[in-house]
């Protein structure tokens, strides 16, 4: 056995023998070590662990066994899984464009020299700073049948004396989840897009004004094309986040009514807590592959990273 100090000494000797260029490489690696360590320990290992587990029969009361793609075979014939996939896709397709559109509008307003802009920008960020579980609980109070704010509004404005069970129908619960998520994550889109807008040179707009370009022309000819790289990044982040939506649903609807708002993450969680780690991992792996494919597609389509 070599002791720790001995091995450090050896490493130092080895470093001392290197040429200056090699020394610099060693230095680079030394500085990168913490980052690499954390990526391996907290991202790569859990991902590989999940991949490994998805190939196992890992149910707490059974012998652990390697079963190759057996979990996936059952997963693909499981109506509960397809129901979760359907919901997750619908959720991504509807919530992400909605959040980006509203976020862009907010960013455009905040980019103008309006009074109290700093305060406004800070206020817009508040929903993003609130944990998703908390905002889920807040929305639960809004939609609550007996004492919720939404039904109270209906009553005092005289629109309806009969309370509405907002979370009680498939469509209603879906809209409620999208609204809660949009409220929480639109500020994220807004702030990133605002940073993108700030980077566009004011000279371009002044030039366009001289040419008497209308607001719409300026928006579509200058703002949108120059904002594209930032838009793609925002789209990428939001899509991946929306794909793995979990907390708001867990708190707000619990996946109900009748599984109408159950996402793939909620589906996987259900199996993890029931003690079937293999099956839960298999569902997570599908989600991981989808996110990976989407990321690659976005990057390819947008030519992001290529100048």
């Amino acid at each position: 056995m070599i002791s720790l100090s001995q091995s450090i000494d050896r490493m130092e000797e080895a470093i001392a023998e290197r040429t200056p260029l090699e020394k610099e490489h060693v230095q680079i690696i030394a500085f990168m070590f913490p980052l690499i360590f954390f990526i391996v320990a907290f991202i790569l290992m859990p991902v590989l662990g999940t991949l490994y587990d998805s190939l196992m029969r890992d149910v707490i009361y059974m012998e652990k066994e390697f079963i190759l793609f057996e979990n996936f075979r059952y997963l693909f014939t499981d109506p509960g899984f397809w129901n979760a996939m359907r919901f997750t896709f619908l959720f991504v397709i509807i919530s992400v464009p909605l959040e980006l559109a509203i976020g862009l509008m907010i960013a455009l307003v905040m980019n103008e020299p309006i009074p109290m802009r700093g305060l406004l920008r800070a206020c817009v960020l508040i929903p993003w700073a609130i944990p998703a579980a908390v905002s889920g609980r807040v929305f639960e109070l809004v939609y609550n049948y007996t004492y919720g704010a939404a039904n109270w509004l209906l009553r005092i404005t005289g629109i309806s004396t009969e309370p509405v069970n907002w979370l009680g129908t498939e469509v209603g619960a879906f809209i409620a989840v999208v609204a809660a998520d949009a409220w929480k994550t639109t500020p994220f889109a807004a702030i990133i897009l605002l940073a993108g807008l700030a980077a566009i040179s004011e000279d371009l707009y002044n030039q366009a004004r001289i040419d008497r370009a209308s607001f719409m022309t300026r928006f579509f000819r200058i703002t949108l094309p120059l904002l594209k790289p930032v838009l793609v990044v925002t789209l990428l982040f939001r899509t991946i986040q929306a794909l793995r939506i979990f907390d708001i649903i867990y708190v707000l609807t619990g996946g109900g009514p009748g599984g109408a708002t159950e996402s793939v993450s909620n589906f996987a969680y259900k199996y993890f807590t029931a003690g079937d780690f293999g099956y839960g991992s298999a569902a997570s792996v599908i989600l991981f592959i989808l996110a990976l494919l989407l990321s690659v597609t976005y990057v390819k389509i947008s030519g992001f990273g290529k100048e």
């Binding site: 070590f33 012998e63 014939t77 509960g80 007996t146 609807t253 996946g255 009748g258 599984g259 029931a274």
Partner: protein, 443 residues
């Protein structure tokens, strides 16, 4: 190019190696500092305070150190905590409380040490047979019991000119409707009957009561295959749906919001005639400041024809970990927790329903809680949830489809058909694996 400092890399590497080795050493040294056994238990602060007293009493009588491992109040989180420790074969906790619904899973997983020394005569024998005895051995013992009961408003019964609490489903629906119509004049939010209908475990508990009293779903581990697609279950499911949409005596929020506490608050605020809940609600309804104080009565749950009431068994059982390094001491503690002395303490402090049957005739306890006489009959006949190791998976499927029926996304026929297909698929998948317990024969 910038000149680099040749000593720097060395320092950085050294620093990181030092930090890592420190972390490693801390990791190795992270042993349980305390001697003695560890008892994992969750609950409200008031409950944990009582457990501390129980531990203190035990330590006075025995020369064994016990430390409390405080778990959250949420039972799902308690389960996760125990599962992580037991799956990784940790020595601690040595002894813990389990929800009755997990006993089958824990037994089958081989996580429980049989409680061979424990005297079984003091418990409800049917209950032990159906939940705690696994492979011929006593794996756990009931610490406190729960069972579904019907709470009713005595004053409203009188107002509606009714002779007593409902015994049948028809009586429940009709009397609930009658009183609701009268009460709605003053209270537009008044409802006849509130119960647990949100998409969670409590929904399955309620379904097992409705269906069980009709003679439907009842699963024994020996018989294998879970059958839900049957006429009796269909009738029960239709009745549950009709309570909301046809008789309209249960609020539409039943299937979106109603868990135990929502139901209790609804009834306690005075806006309901009948309530299905666990016994814990009794002390709260009768507590100071409760609007329904002194107006509440309890009865067995109604059933289709009358006289065949079914109540689902709930509550917590104590078990000793198979991986404990102090099994003898842990067994002694488990025996103490289920002893008359400790049980009486818990009952008198918290109003819990003891796991021992003999305390329901105890004069001191009856003087404090006269309603325990009625509970004894209910618990004696209470039915456990299906004792199968994959119960939670089955419950998840049932939750989805029963909730979907209550929301009218599916017809009851369609719901049971789909639930059966999914349950069959789960059983199919698990039938290919080897059970741990089966292999080791419960050594």
């Amino acid at each position: 190019m910038r000149r680099h400092n040749p000593g720097m890399a060395r320092q950085v590497v050294r620093g990181w190696l030092l930090l890592l080795s420190l972390l490693f050493l801390i990791g190795c040294g992270w042993k349980d500092a305390e001697d003695g056994i560890v008892f994992a238990v969750g609950g409200a602060p008031s409950e944990l305070a009582v457990w501390e007293k129980v531990v203190k009493k035990f330590q006075e009588q025995n020369d064994i150190q016990v430390s409390l491992l405080r778990q959250p109040a949420n039972s799902q989180q308690q389960l996760q905590g125990l599962m992580v420790a037991l799956k990784s074969e940790q020595k601690n906790p040595d002894v813990f409380l389990m929800d009755v619904a997990w006993v089958g899973l824990f037994s089958e997983a081989g996580w429980l040490e049989p409680l061979d020394e424990l005297d079984q005569s003091a418990f409800f024998s049917d209950l032990l047979q159906q939940t705690d005895i696994y492979g011929g051995k006593l794996m756990a013992a009931p610490v406190y019991l729960d069972g579904g009961i019907l709470y009713y408003r005595k004053d409203l019964l009188e107002m509606g000119g009714l002779s007593g609490p409902p015994r049948t489903w028809t009586e429940l629906a009709e009397s609930g409707r009658k009183v609701q119509t009268i009460r709605r004049k003053d209270d537009p939010d008044f409802y006849g009957f509130v119960w647990q209908g949100a998409q969670y475990e409590g929904l399955v508990v309620n379904f097992l009561e409705f269906a069980g009293s009709k003679g439907g779903i009842r699963l024994e581990k020996e018989k294998g295959g879970v059958r839900v697609k049957m006429e009796e279950n269909l009738v029960a499911l239709r009745f549950m749906r009709d309570l909301i949409w046809d008789y309209e005596i249960s609020p539409p929020s039943t299937y979106t919001e109603m868990q135990e506490e929502e139901v209790r608050n609804f009834f306690q605020s005075g806006s309901a005639m009948y309530e299905r809940n666990w016994p814990y609600a009794w002390t709260l309804h009768q507590g100071e400041g409760s609007p329904v104080r002194g107006k509440v009565g309890i009865a067995p749950l109604p059933d289709p024809e009358g006289g065949k009431t079914v109540s689902t068994l709930g509550g917590y059982h104590i078990g000793v970990s198979r991986y404990s390094d102090q099994k003898d001491d842990a067994q002694k503690f488990a025996a103490f927790v289920t002893s008359k002395e400790a049980q009486r303490m818990v009952v008198l402090e918290l109003g819990w329903n003891p796991g021992r049957s003999d305390l329901y005739d105890d004069e001191k306890i009856l003087a404090e809680y006269p309603h325990f006489k009625q509970f004894k009959e209910i618990f004696r006949k209470a039915r456990p949830r299906p004792v199968i190791p994959y119960y939670m998976q089955v419950s998840n499927v049932l939750q989805t489809y029963i909730s979907g029926t209550l929301a009218r996304n599916f017809s009851p026929e369609e719901a049971l058909e789909k639930a059966q297909t999914e349950i069959d698929s789960i059983e199919n998948r698990y039938s290919e694996g080897k059970s741990k317990y089966g292999k080791e024969g419960g050594s």
